[in-house]
């Protein structure tokens, strides 16, 4: 199972600002190892963020997203103490969900 994501969700004014740092190699499939063999692609394809049951971001990624993807966005209507959860699925079917409480 992959390493945990780091999620920060902070209410500022009427918006919750979310910053997510995900641990993932985001291997493009274009790199070669020391023996000259292609390293197979391994990258996050989709990521969704929800505030309680409400979808607040829906992302589709390709190989050109940097290793250890970073995302930052804002949404309205979130409250302190509410739950912000993030789920990603990668190209080999691995998946991970983490959550944070809005502060």
């Amino acid at each position: 199972m992959a390493d945990p994501m780091r999620i920060r969700a902070v209410l500022s004014g009427d918006k919750v600002e979310v910053k997510i740092l995900i641990r993932h190699d985001m291997e493009t499939g274009l790199r070669k190892d020391t023996e000259g063999k292609l390293i197979p692609p391994h990258f996050i394809k989709t990521l969704t963020a929800k505030y309680e049951d409400r979808l607040v971001l829906d992302t589709v990624m390709g190989i050109a997203v940097s290793k250890d993807p970073f995302l930052s966005f804002k949404f309205k209507g979130g409250e302190k103490g509410g739950k912000l959860s993030v789920t990603w699925v990668d190209n080999i079917g691995d998946t991970r969900t983490d959550a944070a409480i809005i502060s």
């Binding site: 989709t46 589709v60 390709g62 940097s66 966005f73 969900t97």
Partner: protein, 153 residues
């Protein structure tokens, strides 16, 4: 990768999202099906075509914020935003990358149409922010210079 392996991978990712969906209520599984053609398109024009961009307007209401020069092409922070009302979709394309479409966002109502992320750039290139609002497409672009390319290691 041959087609049947691709299908297996896609099936697995849809199943994975489906499982996550059952734990969390309704998740938009639709996004997972989106991958193939637009992300595999090898040119800006083909990517636009696969995304369904039939025509677009260059708009100053769409912004790209980034450094002028990226020291490390493997990690280029880019912020894209749109003040066009009812922006529902935003994408970042790097023209000179092997596959220009890098990342795309569905923006639900209540979420600000402004996202920051980090992309890989193989070389100096125009970077495009493509935005869809009420069925219409809007585009902004900016050249980002790259001193050390970041696609092929």
């Amino acid at each position: 990768m041959n087609q049947s392996r691709r299908d297996v991978l896609r099936m697995t990712s849809v199943l994975g999202l489906g499982l996550a969906g059952s734990l969390f209520g309704s998740i938009n599984v639709f996004a997972a099906e989106w991958m193939p053609k637009s992300f595999e398109a090898k040119s800006l024009q083909d990517a636009f075509k696969e995304l369904g961009v039939d025509q677009y307007a260059v708009s100053s209401d769409v912004s790209i914020v980034s450094a002028e020069i990226a020291e490390n092409g493997a990690v280029v922070p880019v912020s894209i935003s749109s003040v066009i009302p009812k922006t529902e979709y935003m994408a970042i394309l790097v023209e000179k990358n092997p596959s220009p479409l890098s990342v795309a966002f569905n923006i639900p109502e209540g979420t600000e149409a402004a996202v920051t992320t980090r992309v890989k750039m193989g070389e100096t290139s125009n970077v495009y922010a493509v935005v869809k609002a009420e069925g219409k497409w809007f585009v902004a672009s900016k050249e980002i210079k790259v001193t050390l390319g970041g696609c092929g290691g």
